[in-house]
């Protein structure tokens, strides 16, 4: 059996072109043209683009498990937020004596709560490498534990969706508590610097944006690699007929667990990149609604395509930014309508629509057209 290539020729071209735009062109446009010039990208847009790209990683992670393994997690926001909290804790420790209370060790909210010592979970977060490791490890371990229990006892489909939602809801309630030691309601904010660079400086923001773009590119290639291997085919088989795959002697539990953990790691990465760019992390990120919204990004782009997830995240969030600015009361109507229209009228999302359009045009121009077999 021949292995599917990582990307086709057009695929690589598009990939490289997008990478060029994201990593070279946008940073150039944000620095080189004189401020006020029509080509200049205003400074506030850079972290916004960065935020979109973080969401794209999140969508990619969900598409990997939903589109390819049929696991619709409605708790992926939890992994994202946990990664964000890990990074936020590092950034809190970097504030040092510049906080309101000027305590060299304790973050402001701990001084406010009259705490004497740094709680155990915060130890080591002054170190960037450790924080970065935890941003991946905590979501990874949680996903492994959760997935092991769930997949082993064959909780699938809607039941899985509901308990993942319960998971993120439980975490939401937990992080709202002050005694948890993660800033309670207010979360973590007021960051000063990252790795010694001023977090507000335009150059740092461009740097963070570029790192995010590179991370998105790598995440895409990793996901693409996973789904093009034999293992990827196994995942598709699990999605379409899990019992049959199990009867053929495959361990579906192991396969699902692996891809679930990988997906959670990507979420943690996205969260860790997200927090320094938006400057705050609070329990609101655990809202079940946020996780459900991710599913709609994927559905809008086209599930089971990876590219669609990225596209969907970017398109929906662009509309969101624009609508919440132009007509805030319309946003929920638009989002709600999007959920309904996409599920009813375009189950394959934007990409599916494009493919259908292309096929239809080819069929009408070449009478005896041989249809290409769709690989998904």
């Amino acid at each position: 059996m021949q292995r599917t290539p990582l990307l086709g020729r057009t695929g690589w071209l598009v990939f490289l072109a997008s990478a060029l735009v994201a990593v070279v062109l946008i940073p150039l446009l944000a620095t080189v043209p004189a401020p006020g010039s029509a080509f200049r990208i205003p400074a506030y847009l850079v972290p916004l683009f960065g935020k979109y790209l973080c969401y794209a990683i999140l969508a990619l992670a969900l598409d990997l498990i939903w589109g390819y393994a049929g696991i619709l997690s409605l708790g992926h926001g939890a992994f994202f937020a946990l990664g964000g909290y890990a990074m936020g804790m590092y950034l809190m420790r970097q504030i040092g004596t510049r906080g309101v209370y000027g305590d060299p060790i304790l973050p402001d909210f701990m001084v406010f709560l009259n705490w004497r010592d740094l709680p155990l979970p915060w130890w080591g977060f002054g170190n960037f490498a450790y924080a970065a490791f935890m941003a991946l490890a905590v979501p990874g371990v949680l996903a492994a534990a959760f997935g092991w229990f769930a997949f082993r006892s064959r909780v699938t489909g809607v039941y899985l969706s509901i308990i993942t939602q319960a998971m993120t809801y439980a975490l939401l309630l937990a992080f709202f508590r002050n005694d948890m030691g993660f800033g309670g309601n207010n979360g973590l904010t007021d960051f000063k610097e990252i790795l010694g660079y001023d977090i507000q400086a335009p150059s740092t923001r461009i740097g963070l944006y570029v790192v995010t773009a590179v991370a998105l590119g790598l995440a895409f290639l990793i996901c693409r690699f996973v789904v093009t291997t034999r293992f990827g085919r196994l995942l598709l088989a699990v999605r379409d007929a899990e019992s049959r795959v199990r009867f053929l002697g495959y361990s579906t539990t192991g396969a699902k667990l692996f891809v679930f953990v990988l997906s959670a790691l990507l979420c943690g990465l996205a969260g860790a990149l997200y927090v320094p760019q938006v400057g705050i992390i609070n329990p609101g990120e655990f809202q079940p609604g946020n996780s459900i919204e991710v599913a709609i990004w994927v559905a809008v782009g086209g599930r089971g395509t990876l590219v669609g997830a990225i596209l969907g995240a970017l398109v929906v969030n662009f509309i969101k930014t624009w609508l919440t600015g132009a007509a805030p009361e319309l946003w929920l109507f638009a989002l709600g309508a999007l959920f309904i229209i996409v599920t009813l009228a375009m189950p394959q999302g934007i990409l599916g629509l494009a493919a259908r359009l292309k096929r239809w045009r080819r069929l009408s121009s070449v009478p005896v057209g041989v249809e290409e077999t769709a690989h998904d």
């Binding site: 909780v155 109507f333 959920f339 309904i340």
Partner: protein
């Protein structure tokens, strides 16, 4: 404004109707009051105490005016109340007075204020309202002092209400614990043993902990303490059980509708919470209609009208949604989940656009306010009791519909084997729409109940959606008995966890427990068996 105040004050002063104990003659009261013009604070305190034990209703207004710094004294020690600047009235009779010289304002310091509070609460012992008297007696129990004994004795002598008399006796016994006479203290301890007040427990605890020297009293206090502890433990179990059932009935109401749409039809209805919200807003609208168009005497019935109204509104919305959206998504559970989530967002925003984002206030009808006391500290409120009963009634009605009506028969037939049902001539499309409407309508009725115990806001539904799913999944999809058991079980467990873990942590623990439970019984407590289980 100030004239009004004077009038009110005068009215208060002249309100002998509100008097329970016998009033003093004007002259006697004036004599007591004149002590307030005394030179030192000690004289004033004595006068305040005397007013406090006088039992005269007019003393209340005088003491309040004193606390507000509105009393002044003439040279002849006549006490005046100042209404508007420069206008005075006699504090006792309330008749206007034009003083010859400027009267001297009577100053109050914090020590006097404390004294005034005590005196006022003692005066409340003679109020005409038994509830006021009861709260004054409880207050006296919580601040026991030997000084209060004469006032309590006096109140006891005239008290006719049994409950208030018991509370007064308790307060008296608590005050006499400070008596120098050991025999008196022993008698008090024995009397207090009958109480279930946590304050009494504290008092006896202090006694045992070293405030007492007499070994007999200590021994009696220890026995009394043990008895009280036991009583309190029972009461706590009772309270937890009742609150658990109350929470359980709320969960039950929230989940019954979902047990139909999700449990029977298999539709993952994320807009279920919004059906509850629609019901709550219907209640609000019905309430406003009653307020504007019907006489106030009928207002108490608005809730009775709200129940069918909410059922119809939410049910009609359910039928409309089923016909336009959900029927295209049967057999695609994950898509259904996303589409219904979209519906829920739109409904929330729709309600927010119409009614505005702030909470709407829905009043309890008079027959649902208040409650009754079962034991000390254990009060059953009517609204909770009504909601528990309502939950069971709704569940009962649903069971009747499913078991005894044609529609119920058709519903069960369609869910068990759609094709076969269609062949037998059952209009499956219509049954689908009606079933979904029924589930939504029940959710609407739940909204009526929930509007009585919480805020009515556009996000009302989001609060209950996860809980509802937990109840249905925990109880077993498709099983109404399971839904009942799940709701009550979760409610009671939650309330019993709360004292140890706190409300939020308790809830988290319950969620985690359910997540783990589902691993072991993925089909819930009462799993369907046989062929339909594989659907």
């Amino acid at each position: 404004m100030n004239i009004l105040r004077v009038l009110m004050l005068v009215g208060l002063l002249l309100a002998p109707l509100a008097v329970h104990a016998a009033n003093l003659a004007d002259a006697d009261l004036a004599k007591l009051t004149s002590g307030l013009a005394g030179d030192g604070f000690d004289d004033k305190i004595a006068a305040i105490d005397a007013l406090g034990t006088s039992g005269d209703a007019r003393a209340v207004a005088i003491l309040k005016a004193l606390a507000d710094g509105k009393l002044a004294a003439t040279e002849t020690k006549q006490i005046l109340v100042e209404g508007s600047a420069g206008h005075f009235a006699d504090a006792v009779t309330g008749s206007p007075v034009a003083p010859a010289a400027d009267p001297v304002r009577i100053r109050v310091n914090n020590r006097l204020r404390g004294q005034i509070d005590v005196a006022l609460s003692r005066l409340t012992l003679y109020s005409a309202d038994p509830a006021d008297r009861l709260s004054a007696a409880t207050e006296a129990l919580h601040r026991p002092s030997l000084d209060a004994v004469p006032a309590l004795d006096k109140a006891l002598a005239t008290e006719k209400d049994k409950g208030v008399a018991a509370a007064l006796k308790l307060a008296r016994a608590a005050a006499l614990l400070q008596s120098p006479d050991a025999a008196q203290r022993l008698a008090s301890v024995n009397e207090l043993a009958a109480s279930t007040d946590s304050q009494v427990r504290g008092l006896l605890g202090e006694l045992v902990g070293g405030h007492e020297s007499d070994p007999k009293v200590i021994a009696a206090a220890k026995t009394a303490l043990a008895k009280i502890e036991r009583q309190l433990a029972y009461i706590e179990i009772g309270i937890n059980l009742f609150q658990g059932l109350s929470l359980g009935s709320v969960l039950l109401l929230a989940a019954i509708g979902l047990a139909v749409t999700f449990g029977v039809m298999g539709v993952i209805n994320m807009a279920h919470g919004e059906m509850i919200m629609l019901g709550a807003y219907t209640t609000f609208v019905v309430q406003e209609l009653f307020r504007s168009f019907l006489p106030a005497s009928l207002f108490d019935f608005y809730l009775v009208v709200s129940v069918p109204a909410a059922f119809l509104v939410a049910g009609a919305m359910g039928v409309a949604l089923e016909r336009t959206i959900i029927r295209f998504l049967y057999g695609r559970p994950l898509e259904t989940l996303l589409a219904t989530w979209g519906i829920s967002l739109m409904l929330q925003q729709l309600v927010r656009s119409i009614f505005g984002a702030p909470n709407k206030e829905v009043a309890n009808p008079s027959w649902m306010t208040g409650g009754f006391q079962i034991m000390g500290g254990f009060t059953v409120t009517w609204n909770r009791l009504v909601i528990i009963a309502f939950g069971f009634v709704v569940l009962g009605l649903l069971v009747l519909v499913l078991r005894k009506t044609n529609l119920g028969l058709h519903m069960r037939a369609v869910t068990q084997n759609r094709k076969m049902a269609a062949i037998m001539g059952i209009p499956t499309d219509r049954v689908d729409a009606l079933t979904f409407g029924l589930g939504s309508g029940i959710a609407g009725m739940a909204g009526v109940a929930l509007s009585q115990i919480g805020n009515v806001s556009p996000n009302l539904g989001t609060i209950y959606i996860i809980d509802s799913f937990m109840v249905v999944v925990f109880g077993g999809v498709g099983s109404l008995v399971g839904t009942l058991a799940g709701a009550m079980g979760l409610g009671v467990v939650n309330k019993f966890l709360e004292p140890f873990a706190g409300a939020v942590l308790g809830k988290i623990l319950v969620l985690v427990a359910i997540i783990i439970f589902i691993q072991f019984r993925p089909r819930g407590l009462f799993a369907l068996k046989g062929r339909s289980a594989e659907a």
